[in-house]
Symmetry: D2
Subunit: 342 residues, 4 copies
């Protein structure tokens, strides 16, 4: 068991030239994991990594969400939004708000986008250009938005010492992180607790492909998550914009649902670029609702309406008492007891 | 094990003359509980009652909340609100709204206010006038607002057959039901599943007083409860309105917090009577926050702000698009990649 | 506005021969929707349908989940599970349990799998064989598992009277309904409240394809959902079992994650068929976690651990007191105040 | 508006001699609050204090819960538990566990027990001995267990500069903090954001007693709270242990319910002192369920069963695979399609 505090500085990412540079993730690590007797993790072990604490670096409480230029970084809807842009987000405790997307403020689930271990095939993997960008067998860029305080990751150990690395910290992200650099990217710190479970990689994780490397980590997500009362849910199916029918193709259904939501929300005074960025970083949920009713896969996107706060409502703490007046006459009829002496 | 469906008609309560009549609860029962071999529950057994389903009677989907005249039924704040009044509530699925308290609509936790068993000392208890009004050792008027679908009650069996009775159905209630007839009273049905655990009353329930009767039931509340994002919390301490300091007296602290909340919410266009009724029946939580820091007990009342819906907010489904316009200029700067050919 | 109660009898589906029959959905409807002045809904209107109440038919409180034979109904993992099978589920209030998959019991989000309106192109659509099977522009088989009490659907009106139809009732379903007939199929009733918003179809819904028909409904899901403390999360990426790398292909990533979860859970004494059925009907969440980090899409499947209840834990209501004993010696040291006279 | 980070060191409290010393709270402050133009808060203003971040001091991640000797600090159940004792708790991220109360581990809602402002009557108040111990009009020891990250307090300003002070940090506390020093006391830091709302004290807060000082602060609690699936609920009524009937006396009903819960939980291998401490510091909820059905007030105590983790259950990540085996035979019958060639 070990306890480590990582100060991960991703400020370089913050300065990124979104229109031209190649995107790279600067990770913290590799960290060599030893047990309390000093014996390193070994191939075939299972490594548990608990996220005890994490947050932005002190005096650096801000981040950004961005989409790349069409030729430079793709993004999910790059054909619709080919130009690079970004929005800055300010952090206030667990909340964030942006001068570039007014009228929204939301509580955040901060998490590392990347948590991974070393692999013996690093050279080969690097040649194939997947590098740190995608989610991979050894963890990688899994982008699980709920990997907040109290979460635990069960990782396979492929090399001696495990060579744990982590980073790509997100103050908040939606399922899918659709604008590519769509989470709220920030510099930050992490406190991790590691435990080695000797020789149990095989017992927990089964290869889903031809080699022993083709395993996927397992996660336990933490017990705290912002409560949201109301969700607005959009739907998409795998018919593309030309009207072409695809077959159980979730990626196209998800494209359809995100476009649907962008179109709808842009009716409230936002530009489509603003909504696209917002749907990349606010705590909305992207679900695979239907995957069996051929030919149509159904994807849904659920947006918590509480993130929009422009018009204060109800007996919130009063600031503009005239707006909030109830339209009732304010009187209930009361009936005095005829025998009462009060 | 047995399964029973109770159609409980409380319409008589609905016609109650609030200014003069004595309040009585019309219960359904007593129900004699047998096991599958036909052997009745016996003293010393423990009876579990699971609330499988419940709701308003078909074609009778309405209820009321009321406060009594000072001389007739007390109520928690009867000195401040001495006259009788009531509000009618209409049910729409799990939601309710009232023509007498405009601007609120909320999802409800429907439950029986009373669930109890027979006791051998019924005659004595009746003479002492507690009858069905209060919560008692055998269950009684416990008014636990979360006793919704999926909840389970563990009751002591004092007499052969258990003589289970239930009723006083509430479409919704706040903790405390402060206006006396303050829950949304309705007629309704209940589906219960009973199980006899032979001879285990003593193992589960310990008398808290001088006789074997002084036990209290245990409850498991169900797993569904409306999610609320935001709560407005008021505080009260045990200093009464004359400024007199009491000693760890929660009842006075709770009076203080309810008065506080009534005063605040009445600034939004409601009469104080309306707020008093609302705080009796909406899903708000009354907590004992501090009971050890002498001389002051601290009570809190938490109100979910989502029950107030007068002014639609955020990208809710649009009805009045002009109200909802974001004040932003609606444009994010975008940067075209100089080398791009798109 | 109108209020209607639909008794939808799907018993025929329950008798389905899974090994050979063609699957069809028997829907209730079409229902012609009029406003209070008797004027029917018209093309271009928006129809809101609120799900006020729903549930299994009285005395028919059971359902089933099934997978089809490979040649007969596909299913998401039909290559891995080519033979037909099914499990029966018994309902107890909001809970369900099965004699065929022991050790699980869970609270359910009951919903209609299909809610849809008539279209002018019905003949053409029928010829193209989509019929009622998939989710479609007019609603269709959307299979949104959270479409429970208090939910609201905003549907486009294409034909006079709207011709609303609904059915395919599910006592519970997971995101994706992976085994095809994977939800807990049941007969049931629905109480709906409809409202016509005149001429606003275009204002709410924007076509995502070449015709006006290419719109998707919007949903507001209800505020009650079972609370779950702990979720076990599996991950899958778009590398298939042969090791072939696909490109941002969520459907393959989802296949990977479901296989991962099946493999893991089958280590606890279940057959893989049992787990496959369970993951089709229990309230687990299928998410699109990463869709931008090419080449790998990342899908996750989150399973609430509370659905497994074999071994009672903690101070739950005691049945087997010896199992639950805490290993502590049961004594805290106490220190008497030397000056005390107690 | 101002932003401040308070490092509050309560280590002295940690060394407290529980059997003899007088309890005092060492607070951080007073902090003079100015607006951005340097103008101090003034009497009649309203001060909002948002809790942006808080936690234990680095390298001091532990705390304790304690009960005092009968003659020294009272406590809610001091007559039943007259001797001083304590339990140490270790922190792991948002979780805590104790070597003195084995078998429990729970996620925590960290909060300041005290947040208050200066008053002009300080001398008088001090003479009357309430000092920092109880909750008071200017805030004081409110012990609201949900005052976690993202919460906001609206305080009256009585003196120039407000003289804000805070401290008594709790890693976790139950409603009521019943054992007196019953929360998990710790040293810690706080990041606060203050805002002055000029002259609006009267508009927000109404005196509930004879002087202007008799106001109570209002709170908005934060949106993150651990999710718990299952709650075990105990009930108490205002009949004391001698069998004496009291009248709508919540404090006695709460005593009854806490004793009930202690008795029940002690059947699982804990000493009663351990349970008493546990019910003071774990996230359980104390509610005023009934306050109108005279003569009996009903109080309830709801305990999330997930805090007990001794016996791992269900398909949690497997450690002891033999314990977790499902008792099913593990085979569903499958039916091959007679016409199939697979």
């Amino acid at each position: 068991m070990c306890m480590t505090k990582i100060y991960h500085n991703a400020l370089n990412i913050k300065c990124l030239d979104l229109s031209a540079a190649n995107q790279v993730h600067y990770l913290s690590g590799p960290i060599r994991i030893l047990d309390k007797d000093g014996v390193p993790a070994k191939p075939g072990d299972l490594l548990t990594v608990e996220i005890c604490n994490l947050g932005p670096l002190p005096r650096d409480e801000w981040g950004f969400t961005a989409m790349f230029d069409h030729e430079n970084g793709e993004g999910f809807l790059t054909d619709h939004f080919p130009y690079a842009t970004k929005a800055i987000w300010h952090f206030e405790g667990i909340y964030t708000h942006s001068p570039h997307i007014l009228g929204v403020r939301f509580p955040c689930l901060t998490h590392p986008g990347i948590i991974q271990e070393g692999t013996p095939e690093w050279e080969k993997i690097a040649r194939e250009a997947t590098r740190t960008i995608p989610g991979k067998e050894n963890g990688g860029n899994c982008d699980i938005k709920n990997l907040n305080r109290g979460s635990k990751v069960y990782l396979p150990v492929f090399v001696e010492g495990a060579n744990l690395s982590t980073g790509d910290m997100h103050f908040s992200q939606s399922d899918g992180e659709v604008a590519f650099c769509g989470a709220i990217e920030m510099s930050g710190f992490l406190e991790l607790k590691c435990e080695i479970i000797r020789g149990e990689m095989k017992e927990y994780l089964t290869p889903m492909g031809p080699t022993l490397l083709h395993v996927n980590p397992i996660f336990e997500i933490g017990p705290v998550e912002p409560r949201f009362s109301e969700w607005l849910v959009f739907e998409g199916i795998n018919i593309d914009e030309s009207g072409r029918q695809h077959y159980l193709y979730v990626s196209i259904a998800y494209k359809c649902v995100v476009l649907n939501a962008i179109d709808y929300l842009s009716k409230f005074g936002y530009s489509k670029e603003q909504v696209y960025l917002l749907l990349s970083c606010c705590p909305c949920e992207g679900r695979i609702s239907g995957i069996v009713d051929s030919p149509n896969a159904v994807a849904t996107l659920a947006i918590p309406t509480a993130i929009f706060y422009q018009v204060p409502v109800g007996p919130y703490l009063l600031r503009k008492p005239d707006i909030l007046k109830c339209t009732d006459d304010g009187n209930l009829p009361t009936t005095k007891n005829p025998s009462s002496t009060v």
